[in-house]
């Protein structure tokens, strides 16, 4: 299979590492080779955080600008900041208001590059379920509603089951499913 490059971005503390872990586990379950890169250390204290995930036969863990198939952003500005990673025809999923996303200035570029962009109020969904810090799961759920060819809702759900500590499972599934529902509407 051709290499699939995924970039995940947000701010330190938003759960980028966890989101990467879920996607990587789901890919591993499907028998795909996985290679990822994470941000640890000082940036985790609220700075811009980015994860790379590559599926397929690769040596390196970093995605080159212009070669990502998917960009998942947990914060609107971090979505814009990482647009250069997207390849032509790539797809962008952001935790943002669907009404105002994307900013006018970037639309011509996204259109020119045939980049499909979708926003979901992931933080609102998570906050509504009493867990504002779980917007990562809402975004993943939303993503799974559109990208069945990469990974299905069920496959991602199984991966969440594998990597979530048991006391958080119930709430994680709830937020994940709510994101998925939002995507299927």
């Amino acid at each position: 299979m051709q290499t699939v490059n995924i970039v995940l971005s947000g701010l330190g503390g938003q759960g980028i590492l966890f989101m990467t872990k879920v996607l990587a586990q789901a890919a591993l379950n499907k028998g795909l080779k996985t290679m990822g890169a994470e941000t640890h250390g000082m940036a985790q204290r609220g700075g811009s955080v980015i994860s790379h995930l590559r599926l397929g036969e690769v040596e390196g863990s970093l995605v080159r600008t212009g070669s990502a198939h998917f960009l998942l952003a947990l914060e609107e500005n971090e979505a814009y900041r990482n647009i250069p990673f997207l390849a032509k025809g790539g797809r962008l999923y952001a935790n943002a208001s669907p009404k105002s996303f994307a900013r006018q200035e970037v639309k011509p570029y996204l259109d020119k590059m045939e980049i499909v962009y979708r926003a979901v109020p992931a933080e609102k969904i998570a906050a509504g379920l009493g867990t504002p810090m779980s917007s990562n799961l809402a975004l993943l759920g939303f993503f799974s509603a559109f990208e069945k060819d990469l990974v299905t809702h069920k496959e991602l759900r199984n991966a969440i089951d594998q990597v979530t500590p048991s006391r958080f499972k119930k709430i994680n599934f709830k937020v994940f499913d709510a994101g998925f529902e939002m995507g299927t509407q």
Binding site: T3, L11, G12, G13, T20, K21, A24, Q25, L28, K33, T34, M35, G36, A37, E38, T39, H40, G41, M42, A43, Q44, R45, G46, G47, S48, L53, V58, E59, G60, S61, L62, V63, R64, T65, G66, S67, N77, E78, Y80, R81, I83, P84, F85, L86, R103, E105, V106, Y109, M113, E123, A127, P132, M133
Partner: protein, 619 residues
């Protein structure tokens, strides 16, 4: 039974170390190395191994301990970040001469970028300086294999061996298949041999000769180490350009050449930059008209390739001399070399128009900040309030972020909050200037490198206030226990070391403890400390600002939750945003005042004490 599992690069290193039969693993945490020891602990618990593990108080202590284990015939490893190896350098240089009996692997993790370090220094240069072999893995899988190889080489040649994974190996994730691990049953023994283990300079000369002989033999071994040193030259074929690469840049260029289907550019991968496999490199060089060297972070291999006409790299200006060689940088620099040499360039320009677009958006720069509810924030606020004109010397840890609050003026190295404070004191005192100085250092950093500086400052009669920010954890690197906590690396109980007693033992007569959440109490204590520092019979005043880390101990840190709100008394003076800088406080354009982001607020209630207009109140 073998099973497949996704490992963090540092986990892959841990796995390799245990597969090689490491009986002792020591470490001091530091990004990007911090997860190695916790991964060792996870694996020894799941596999029921009896490996001895410890968080040592610093990297030199860690290396000395592992060295003794290796001298007793065991297999030992010691893990740290690259600047930690500076602290352990004294030990490393000498250990290279003495050699080992068992195996000694030093894992020193580099941080090109830098992402979370004070320098971008290259561990391979330290290996060259110490004259010990160094292995440079390109990804987690190779890091695991090299951890095993390093241990075998070390034991066979009786020499410490360095494994140098860079941050993109340490924090990469890769699926590895692995199976049951077994205990190494080698027993400790020590044969007295003072001519070696306590060698005087005359014997050191002989040991140096021995070391040089070992390196020659190891270099010959590396010439044929095809698992990690290899090229894809076709026999007899000549090439206009070849690339010699090692470590992470090898994985980057290999992916690019494969993607672009560029079989016309051969690559020599070097996994053992020192001692350098020169004959292998000569073979490659003679098949290529020009050779581009890609390595992180400094020039090591490039210096070993002695043909200045042929070699392109940092010295010729083709490769940047600072920063990480991320894929887009490698892509552009190789593309430029191709164009310069009149060869077919890559297609595409790495999305320059997108990069320009993003630059034009003026996106807010997200600097790291202390967490909402962090006790250090309260400490810095009190310090600035009590001693606004002081020089604030500080140190390495989360609290370096006190920078954002104007509470940190200097950050040199581990322990320098104290040593720079005494240095400043004497510099000003010489001119009869009474310059106020407040030093801040974390508990773990104090245990690491604080005492020698404090002893020195007391002995030489320096005057300053030292605030030890005691959050009972090593927070920045991912919540490792400190000696103050009395919990050891494997979770077992150790003897808790009292900061108060250590400080008093350094000769300090003013040692007081305060909870920084009580800003008033801390400010008052700082004023009392100032009087003590300034009095003729006084000295150094040490305040231990003790409050648990809000991330490590959320329940203990915030015992009484206080919901806060901002009233219309707010005059938008921005005092709270600039001087307190809590992530949960923001300027609300619509309301025309400061507001609270409740999803970030930890309800610590500290901000109730800070507004000059009294506009932050309990809801």
């Amino acid at each position: 039974m073998m099973r497949e599992e996704i490992f963090l690069g540092n986990g892959a290193v841990a796995l390799g170390l245990l597969e090689s039969g490491s009986q002792v693993v020591t470490s001091y945490p530091g990004t990007p190395s911090s997860e190695i020891l916790p991964e060792v602990v996870r694996l020894i618990k799941s596999e029921g191994l009896n490996t001895y593990v410890e968080w040592s108080t610093n990297e030199k202590v860690a290396l000395d301990n592992a060295f003794a284990a290796a001298v007793s015939g065991k297999r030992a490893a010691c893990c740290m970040k690259q600047v930690g190896l500076n602290v352990a350098a004294d030990s490393l240089m000498s250990a290279a001469y003495l050699g080992t009996v068992g195996g000694l692997v030093i894992v020193s993790c580099d941080d090109p970028g830098p992402h979370s370090s004070q320098t971008e220094q290259d561990t391979r240069l330290m290996a060259r300086l110490a004259k010990v072999p160094v292995l440079d893995p390109s990804n987690p899988k190779e890091a695991r294999e090299m951890a095993r190889l390093a241990m075998e080489l070390s034991e066979e040649f009786r020499i410490p061996v360095i494994l140098r994974p860079a941050i993109r190996v340490c924090h990469a994730r890769q699926a590895l298949s692995w199976g049951p691990l077994k205990n190494n049953t080698k027993k400790a023994s020590f044969e007295k041999d003072p001519g070696r283990w306590a060698a005087t300079p005359r014997f050191r000369f002989i040991l140096h000769g021995e070391l040089n002989e070992k390196l020659k033999k190891i270099a010959r071994r590396f010439e044929g180490l095809t698992a990690h040193n290899f090229h894809d030259l076709e026999p007899g074929k000549k090439y206009p350009l070849g690339i010699i690469a090692g470590g992470v840049p090898y994985s980057v260029i290999r992916d690019i050449l494969l993607e672009k289907d560029r079989k016309d550019i051969p690559v020599l991968k070097i996994g053992t930059p020192y001692p350098f496999p020169e004959a292998l490199a000569d073979t490659f060089m003679s098949a290529c008209e020009k050779v581009l060297v890609l390595e992180e972070t400094d020039t090591v291999m490039e210096y070993f390739l002695r043909d200045r006409q042929k070699v392109l790299g940092r010295l010729s200006g083709h490769v940047p001399s600072e920063g990480e060689l991320v894929p887009q940088i490698v892509y552009s620099l190789v593309d430029k070399v191709l164009k310069d040499l009149g060869l077919i360039p890559f297609k595409g320009d790495g999305n320059q128009d997108a990069l320009d677009l993003v630059a034009s958006l003026d996106l807010p720069v997200r600097r790291p900040t202390l967490c909402a509810g962090c006790p250090h924030r309260a400490s810095f606020f009190a310090i600035r309030k009590a001693r606004p004109k002081a020089i604030f010397t500080s140190d390495i840890g989360c609290y370096t972020l006190g920078l954002n609050l104007g509470g940190v003026d200097t950050c040199l190295d581990m322990g320098a909050a104290i040593t720079m404070a005494s240095g400043f004191y004497h510099s000003f005192d010489q001119d009869q200037v009474a310059q106020p100085i407040v030093a801040t250092i974390g508990d773990s950093t104090f245990f690491h490198s604080g005492t020698a500086g404090l002893l020195n400052a007391v002995y030489n009669d320096a005057r300053f206030i030292l605030v030890i920010l005691d959050n009972e954890i090593t927070a920045m690197t991912g919540m490792q226990p400190t000696p103050g906590l009395g919990i050891r690396a494997d979770g077992s109980k150790g003897k808790a070391i009292s900061l108060e007693r250590v400080v008093a033992g350094c000769g300090v007569d003013f040692v007081e403890v305060v909870d920084p959440y009580d800003i008033k109490a801390m400010t008052k204590l700082l004023k009392k400390a100032t009087e003590y520092v300034n009095s003729s019979t006084g000295g150094i005043a040490v305040i231990i600002a003790r409050h648990p880390c809000v991330i490590a101990y959320p329940k203990e840190a915030i015992t009484e939750r206080k919901s806060v709100m901002v009233t219309d008394d707010c005059t938008e003076c921005s005092f709270c945003l600039e001087r307190f800088e809590c992530p949960a406080l923001y300027h609300d354009e619509e309301l025309g005042r400061t507001n609270i982001n409740h999803s970030l607020c930890t309800q610590c209630g500290v901000c109730l004490q800070i507004c000059p207009k009294g506009a932050i109140v309990e809801a």
